[in-house]
Amino acid sequence: MYTLKTFIAVITIVIASAFTTTSNGYKVGDIATDFNLKNVDGKMVSLANYKNAKGFIVIFTCNTCPYAVAYEDRVEALNKKYASKGYPVIAIMPNNTDVKPGDNMEAMKARAKAKGFTFPYLMDEGQKIYPQYGATKTPHVYLLQKTKKGNQVKYIGAIDDNYQDAAAVKTKYVENAVDALLSGKEISEKETRAIGCSIKV
């Protein structure tokens, strides 16, 4: 009887923890929502605007997180490499700007200009989009592929395996995933994890 109780307790914990990790946001295979968010150039951007795209590299990022800053040049490089191949970068800033004024629209504009971002850098006004995706931190990547059902999540996680030194990267998770999609192959690593700054609510 005791062991049965323990067993039930363990199962309950397992189920509960499974729910806490998976109920919030998308898993690989889910259809991701589109959005209509303001870009640093003042225009509104939706995924639906990109008629010729094959998919999207959606990256939740910001100005103020050292990890996000460490990846800025690599995010720009991703867009340069893959926008023309049908996978543009769409960056979304998810933080509450009352908590992080350094991430407000003026600061985003300044950052985009200083760094010469060629991708849209959007404000998640009202913080409605990142919870649907299930982003918890910056930077946090969702690779989407256009399908008949909608934009399907193909990869979730980190950009690569070395936030400190782009030159010392061993595995470029996002590039590998996009390359796999472009060549119609199975993505080998569909989910990765990295340290990041918690999204400020």
Partner: protein, 175 residues
């Protein structure tokens, strides 16, 4: 490679002293930092000795960084807990995820200025995709994050704490 990196850091730090010698105030501050703090830096394998125990102690391990505002905000609660529960066999360990190039300029001065009494160690291991799930399967990688454990059980929290919340969790382990 790691040794090379350290050598390089030492070289850089020692080089940095020269131009600062003209600025006496900065020089003194710099010397203080170097004299008074020894920072333990680990890769994940090295850190693992702090992530489990066979003793009767309860460990509260908090992952933080000086640049993480919610982490800095909750640090005093961990300090308070470490102080108040020291006689109840509870120990707080603060694992800094500051970048190695900020150890001297940010982390050590922070430890001194905040007068942190809990043990602070630095984790320098870029392969986070490998080690994050080893800390806890559910950790997305966002900080602050905290793990509380004794030899029988462990709990993981990807959240910020108030003092009361933290104390409540630790009391679960004292029962």
């Amino acid at each position: 490679m790691r040794i090379l990196t350290y050598l390089l850091i030492i070289l850089l730090v020692s080089c940095k002293d020269k131009p600062e010698a003209t600025n006496s105030a900065a020089k003194i501050e710099n010397d203080n930092v170097e004299e008074s703090i020894e920072l333990e830096v680990y890769d994940f394998d090295g850190l693992q000795k702090y992530l489990s125990t066979t003793t009767d102690k309860i460990y509260v391990v908090n992952f933080w960084a000086t640049w993480c505002a919610p982490c800095v905000k909750e640090l005093p609660y961990f300090e308070e807990l470490n102080y108040k529960y020291a006689d109840k066999n509870v120990e707080v360990i603060l694992v800094s995820l500051d970048f190695p190039n900020k150890y001297e300029s940010k982390l050590k001065p922070f430890i001194i200025s905040k007068n942190l009494k809990s043990k602070v160690v630095a984790l320098n291991d870029v392969d986070s995709n490998t080690w994050i799930p080893k800390v806890h399967e559910t950790w997305s990688g966002a900080i602050p994050a905290t793990i509380i454990f004794n030899k029988n059980k462990r709990q993981f929290y990807e959240q910020s704490f108030t003092y009361n919340e933290l104390e409540t969790e630790v009391k679960q382990f004292l029962k």
